[in-house]
């Protein structure tokens, strides 16, 4: 029997008996072959003894069962680690942050409690995946859309409390921001509802986010202060039409007006679809086209073009720019999309062109006009998540093809947030490419463009490979931590990270001698005095593990 650290066999046996009593014996897992299912498929410690593994797993099917499990864990001081569906690969998967914890697997809590079409919201349990919610909406012919990540197999609740993002309209893409109301089992087993849900017989739990008094929802995301058992989400009313366009700009210096104009247009909601910055001249694809490039290869490039790319610094050389101007290949290309009534999005596109026409040489092109709704088959012609359709196609990114001859065994996402300016893109490329080169890290090898998932900021989401070679993985882990530190020295921090890097990331958030972490620890000690819940998640350790914790 694997034992959680610091727990006697007697206590663990007694706790397992209580778990079995709570959820039924068939939903408590202790055999190695079952526990293997909870390993992180992309573990940065693949084939190494430091890999974080579970000592057992328990799968409750209701809030009451979660409460019973949490109370049992408290009685025997068993470290438990809740997961929803465990699909956040690249950010830790289903493996516990503190090795030897018991995984509290919530995937059996998969009820869609309500989808309200007229008020455009859903209330779901943590085991509900984006596919589940999409299927429910389709089967019931409801005129609402979900916003889903890519791939869309994960939990709606899990992705939100990990602060993941999607691809539709601005106000739905940040999944935690688009939530409205939570139900949480606290570490002592008590049940809490946030926002308007704190009113017995609440009538607006999913319509008004903040309730009255301190708004505590945020402390239950990327944390270890409670087990979220229900969560409300605002949904997007099904739009009438979709328009996708490109704005192409010819010169390197045009990156500045591109970003500034995009910011104005998005902040003013003149454009609200997923903005996607590409560089045809550098050969950098828009995120929405990466899949296609991987399947069919990148656009053809002449030998001269390829040769010129070898001479660029931070994506620029006068010769490359001259080649682009001569050949009609734009330096930058901004992909924009619009959702709404045709006459509205046409007007928005017109306004967009007017704003960008101030840039000399701007070229405008309509890529797709789509009358909605469309079915799943038609959505496959596009990047499905931009139509609120979940997909698994992203997994061919890891597939071996002539354009990807040596796919990795997994990846760790390096995801720093930087300001939404052209200067920040260039500075981040300079800083990270120099650091990555010195560290031998396969990141920022060429000029890298950020994603626009979240409003008001950019995020780089870069895959650092996990290989089958422990020595290479160790080098990448150390390099990854160093890049986090380098980013912090420049005022940039990760928005999310895998457990192995959570200490390094949280160390960057050190204003006033670590006041934020001290506050987290104060909360932890008050809310979870026995330290049973997700020890070490985002480097929040319970008091008894605070000294000498692993990370």
């Amino acid at each position: 029997m694997k034992l959680p650290p610091g727990v006697s066999e007697t206590d663990f046996t007694a706790a397992l008996a209580e778990f079995r009593q709570a959820v039924g014996p068939e939903w408590v897992f202790t055999r190695d072959e079952d526990l293997d299912l909870y390993r992180d498929a992309y573990s940065p410690f693949m084939h190494e003894p430091e890999e974080r593994v579970a000592s057992a797993a328990v799968a409750p099917s209701s809030t009451a069962e979660v409460q019973a499990c949490v109370r049992a864990a408290n009685r025997y001081r068993i470290p438990i680690y809740p997961i929803s569906t465990g699909k956040n690969l690249g950010y830790g998967g289903s493996a516990p942050a503190y090795s030897g914890s018991v995984v509290l697997d919530l995937k059996r809590m998969n009820r869609i409690l309500e989808v309200n079409e007229s008020q455009a919201y859903a209330l779901v349990e943590p085991g509900v995946s984006y596919f589940d919610l999409y299927r429910y909406i389709q089967e019931n012919k409801l005129k609402v859309w979900i916003d889903c990540p890519d791939p869309g197999w994960g939990s709606v609740v899990g992705n939100a409390i990990d602060r993941g993002g999607g691809y539709t309209m601005t106000n739905f893409r940040h999944h935690f921001d688009s939530h409205c109301g939570m139900e949480v089992v606290l570490p002592n087993g008590e049940l809490l509802r946030t926002g308007m849900g704190a009113i017995p017989e609440a009538k607006t739990w999913q319509q008004f986010k903040s309730g009255c008094g301190p708004w505590v929802d945020g402390i239950f995301s990327q944390s270890n202060f409670g087990v979220v058992t229900k969560m409300g989400f605002w949904l997007m009313p099904q739009p009438e039409a979709y328009l996708r366009v490109t704005v192409s700009l010819p010169r390197y210096r045009d990156l500045t007006p591109l970003v500034d104009t995009l910011n104005y247009l998005e902040n003013a909601r003149i454009t609200s679809g997923f903005p996607d910055i590409a560089s045809p001249l550098i050969g950098y694809p828009p995120i929405g086209q990466v899949q296609l490039w991987n399947e069919t290869g990148p656009p053809n490039m002449s030998d001269e073009h390829r040769e010129l790319l070898k001479g660029v610094t931070l994506g620029y050389s006068p010769a490359l720019e001259a080649y682009g101007l001569k050949s009609g290949i734009p330096y930058w290309q901004l992909w924009l999309s619009y959702y709404g009534p045709q006459e509205v999005i046409d007007a928005q596109w017109q306004a967009t062109q007017r704003h960008f026409s101030k840039v000399d040489g701007a070229v405008f092109k309509v890529i797709d006009r789509v009358t909605l709704p469309i079915g799943q088959t038609e959505a496959e012609k596009y990047h499905e998540p931009e139509f609120g359709v979940p997909s698994l196609r992203a997994f061919s990114i890891g597939a071996r093809s002539p354009w990807n001859p040596t796919p990795s065994k997994g990846h760790m996402w390096f995801s720093p947030i930087i300001p939404r300016t052209a200067a920040a893109i260039i500075e981040a490329n300079k800083v990270f490419s120099e650091a990555a080169r010195d560290l031998g890290m396969p990141l920022f090898a060429s000029f890298t463009l950020p994603g626009c998932f979240y409003e008001r900021s950019f995020v780089f989401i870069l895959a650092t490979p996990v290989t089958e070679d422990p020595i290479t993985n160790k080098r990448y882990r150390e390099g990854f931590k160093k890049l986090i530190q380098v980013g912090g020295e420049h005022g940039w921090g990760e928005y999310r990270t895998a457990p192995v890097f959570q200490q390094s990331v949280m160390d960057v958030y050190s204003f006033n001698d670590g006041a934020l972490m001290r506050f987290h620890e104060t909360l932890k000690d008050a809310i979870d005095p026995n330290g049973i819940l997700s020890a070490g998640r985002y480097n929040i350790w319970p008091k008894h593990l605070r000294e000498g914790h692993q990370s």
Partner: protein
């Protein structure tokens, strides 16, 4: 919903009652898969699917992406209980299915990686429990066509509990003259 114990017993019963399947054109001890999945883009995978004929299960071709297959066919079946799948696909497709199988506490129980180069032999890496690996390796040793051998190895997988110790064996077969290097994998999810 069928629980894990019932499922294992079902598998054992299927293996034990293989005589009928043999008469119908399968292999001794042939499994009854809920779905047999192959990748239409690869000749070897198509050949494998052609070899997995008869009553072994409905065949489904994919071109890498399993979204539709999973959403329309596998997921509804999985919601009704555990299912038994076999396939020859890319590793990425298998990875995807493997992660989805975890949602139902199911796993890959036999995995045969086929590494094919343009000129040269095909290297097979067989992983699973000791008993299954030895059986599968024997099929690969005898065969003139490795996709057919892989199909036989999958189809005659013995679900009865044997040696549960994980094991790997390597085998080599003549090439099918691949037009491009590829890695495919034959597998069973149970």
């Amino acid at each position: 919903m069928m629980n894990r114990r019932d499922f294992c017993l079902r598998g054992a019963a299927l293996s034990a009652g293989a005589g009928g399947l043999l008469a119908a054109g399968g292999w001794p001890g042939a499994m009854d898969f809920d779905k047999v999945i192959f990748d239409t883009r690869f000749a070897a995978s198509r050949a494998w699917a052609a070899a997995v004929r008869g009553p072994l299960g409905e065949r489904a071709g994919v071109a890498g992406d399993i979204t539709r297959l999973w959403f329309e066919q596998l997921s509804p079946r999985w919601r009704a209980g555990r299912i038994l799948l076999a396939g020859m696909t890319t590793p990425a497709t298998l990875f995807c299915l493997e992660q989805l199988a975890k949602d139902h506490w199911q796993r890959v129980v036999l995995r045969i990686e086929h590494h094919e180069s343009i000129a040269g032999p095909v290297h097979h890496r067989v992983s699973g429990d000791g008993h299954s690996v030895v059986r599968a390796a024997r099929h690969l040793e005898r065969a003139r066509s490795w996709p057919g051998a892989a199909a036989a190895a999958v189809a005659s997988f013995d679900r009865r509990p044997h040696d549960n110790t994980a094991r790997q064996l390597m085998r080599v077969s003549p090439s099918l003259r691949a037009s491009a290097p590829s890695t495919l994998v034959s597998w069973i999810i149970a």
